[in-house]
């Protein structure tokens, strides 16, 4: 787990469950991440993870109902005043599902769809789905800055391809959270 707990988030975005607001959510997440020190490729990956999570809530959680709330909390992870990464929490009021039922498909089986959860787990760290005590679902995820050891085990970005990847999945803490 990350050192700091997600106290009240620094920036909180609430949107209605409509795909037309995805771009606003992405922009907010991109800017927030950039401000914390992530490079463009990382910012765009973090925004992609948030986009995928919102799409899943709209489609699976709310069955495309357009008037339901989705919350995105963004917090800087800090250690002795030094930014170490970003913590993102996405919540909804949708019907609750077993968190273990939320999983990506086998990528060998090529077909349209079924990529969202895979992408989220691939680009973020410490990905945890849970049912909220007050109803609805919660997705917690974080990403550390490269300077704080973040991104190890994360799918190669074009800019990062020359960096060595850890050989075993055991080096990836996020995988252990399922």
């Amino acid at each position: 787990m990350s050192p700091s707990e997600p106290s009240p988030s620094d920036v909180h975005v609430r949107l209605l469950s409509q795909p037309r607001f995805l771009s606003t959510a992405r922009s907010a997440v991109m800017s927030f991440s950039k401000q914390l020190g992530f490079d463009d490729a990382c910012c765009s990956h973090i925004a992609l993870a948030v986009d995928e999570a919102i799409c899943n809530i709209i489609r699976h959680g709310y069955s495309n109902a357009p008037d339901r709330p989705i919350w995105i909390g963004m917090t800087a992870l800090e250690q002795s005043g030094q930014v170490e990464g970003v913590r993102i929490i996405i919540e909804d009021e949708a019907r609750q599902v077993d968190p273990t039922a939320i999983k990506g498909r086998n990528l060998e089986d090529i077909r349209p769809g079924g990529l969202g959860v895979h992408i989220i787990r691939e680009v973020m760290e410490n990905v945890v789905y849970e049912a909220r005590p007050c109803g609805g679902m919660r997705l917690k995820m974080s990403r550390r800055l490269p300077s704080a050891g973040g991104g190890r085990g994360i799918s190669a970005l074009p800019e990062e391809q020359d960096q060595p990847k850890p050989a075993s999945a055991a080096a990836q803490p996020s995988r252990g959270d399922r």
Binding site: L22, S23, A41, D51, C55, H118
Partner: protein
């Protein structure tokens, strides 16, 4: 900006070139999908998807491309992507689909690939 995706469709010899403009996300992929299907309905030998104008794509956009690839295979049509920007290539890589697609640098190269 309207809710539909801006998509240009041109015929060039035995190829049809489809050029969407803007982010392809869950909001816009339905209209992208519709236009792509319409282009495939013309049954060209070669369907070129020029992504030069697409700075961002989420998995709904990728799903649309995978579907187009399946249609192309059924119709023995060659599907080629071109002008793929860094961020879009990155999501294809994460989805392990960068090998599935023929990818050319630009529309000219896509005509011969």
């Amino acid at each position: 900006m309207s809710d539909a995706m801006e998509v240009k469709i041109e015929r060039d010899g035995d190829a049809v070139i489809v050029s969407p403009a803007g982010d392809v996300d869950l909001h816009r992929s339905p209209s992208f999908r519709e236009r792509l299907k319409k282009a495939a309905d013309e049954k060209p030998k070669r369907l070129i998807v020029n992504l030069e104008g697409v700075p961002y794509m989420d998995s709904s956009g990728v799903a649309t491309l995978v579907e187009a690839m399946q249609i192309a295979r059924r119709q023995s049509m060659t599907l080629v992507l071109c002008g793929v920007q860094t961020r879009v290539r990155s999501i294809l890589e994460i989805a392990r689909l960068d090998q599935l697609f023929k990818i050319a640098d630009n529309a000219a190269a896509a005509k011969t690939l």
